[in-house]
Symmetry: C2
Subunit: 248 residues, 2 copies
DNA sequence: AAGTGGTCTAGACCACATA
DNA sequence: ATGTGGTCTAGACCACTTG
């Protein structure tokens, strides 16, 4: 007996792919569509398997892969949940912050203004050149010592609420503000590391000498659907930066 | 019917762990022990499952995990193989080498001598300070342009054969030479990235100005058993370095 | 006690590589 | 043609969490 037609839930997936791959694609789509908040569990294995008209074994395989990919979290007895982005692997983590443990760094907003997007910002944000963007210039501090200069660009009018709230409310963490003010959740990001030399202005802010090597980190942050929501350029003292990788 | 005792093959593994974890541990041990060269396949699923006295399904789960971890490679119809370290993810890859595709960079040995290990080298190689080590000083070239300075330290007497062969034979790739001359296979490595400024000597070799920012990469390479086999420090022009990560 | 995911089994059938 | 891994199923039993 061959399987003449599969579950309607899989209508939009590529029929040439094996079942487990099609189910995985569909679940990723549903997670991106925000079908489950991070506090509501996915349906149990049995229900999902029935809905997709596949066996529990096959579904389990898919869920295990999604958990391995960091998209889901599974807890025996509690359920399966969508994993919130933690950005544990951001390159920022590798600036050595002397003497502290797990506290969040402080931050001071130096400037907030509306700009016409410069070419490279427009390209990163995927908007037209010279279109209106919100620009934040921010200094991050560790125990009152500045260690990172950030320039952040956000597309308008989408981020207009961020342009209007008081600077005090733009506390150290921006992503929770995006979520609270405009219901936008950052799902992933790409970071690129390169090395530059401090300009006069940067030297003053970072308390170093003009020309000192800086590590520059460009981050493009996206929503679950893949739309670019934020672009930022950060500069920190290269002397306090260490990055380690395992290779196999 | 309960399973009174498991396969003798699992005698050395932790009995509190689930079966699949114990089998995985044992297979990792056997891979490290070099039981299968990279050209001889592992026994087929059916044989392995029988040897461990577990079902094929459970064994398949273990093999899939090992493949996901990059330890094994599986090919439908051909078999399961131990994966050779390719070092595709080495940080070296991120020096932008203008205009070339997949060719290997050239290399020129500037010096080869025997030293008493300086403190930081001894620490990295896990040998006593001042013990004898072989030191290689090498320049790596891309289309006849130098882009990387390497200093490599190898413990003696283990690497004595490398001290004796002609410099011509120390071609661009060292790891195949280690394998051929002393039967030593590099299985993994740790790399650490930091930023320095060019000394006068480095500036001459890299054709830059003294004080220019350099990217420094320290690599500690290990055998399958985890013993440190090589330590190297490499310096390249920061201006030609770009490194990109995805974060979730 | 009920419901969740975790472990393990047994076997059918398919797709690919090699000789 | 044979043997390899890949897909998928069906179901038993266990461990953990919560009310």
């Amino acid at each position: 007996m061959t399987q003449a037609s599969s579950s309607p839930a899989l209508a939009q997936t590529d029929q040439r792919l094996p079942l487990h791959a099609r189910v995985k694609d569909d679940l990723i789509r549903r997670v991106r569509a925000n079908e489950w908040g991070s506090t509501t569990p996915l349906p149990p294995e049995s229900a999902l398997a029935e809905a997709y008209a596949i066996s529990v074994g096959t579904l389990r395989r898919v869920l295990a892969e999604l958990a391995a990919d960091g998209i889901l979290e599974r807890h025996q007895g509690r359920g399966t949940y969508v994993r919130r982005a933690t950005f544990q692997h951001s390159l920022f983590r590798f600036f050595r912050m002397q003497g502290g443990t797990g506290q969040t760094p402080g931050s001071r907003i130096l400037e907030r203004n509306t700009q016409n997007a410069p070419a490279h910002v427009a390209a990163a944000l995927n908007v037209k050149e010279h279109s209106a963007v919100l620009h934040l210039h921010r200094l991050r501090l560790w125990q009152d010592t500045p260690f990172l200069i950030e320039n952040i660009w956000l597309p308008l009018p989408q981020f207009q609420p961020i342009a209007e709230i008081s600077l005090d409310e733009l506390g150290s963490l921006l992503y929770p503000e995006y979520e609270k003010r405009i219901g936008l959740i950052i799902g992933s990001a790409t970071e690129e590391l390169s090395v530059t030399q401090a300009t006069d202005g940067q030297a003053v802010l970072l308390n170093c000498i003009s020309g000192d090597p800086l590590v520059k980190i460009n981050r493009t942050a996206r929503t679950h659907t893949g739309d670019v929501a934020e672009y930022r350029e950060s500069h920190g003292l290269a002397s306090s930066f260490r990055y380690q990788v395992e290779i196999n």
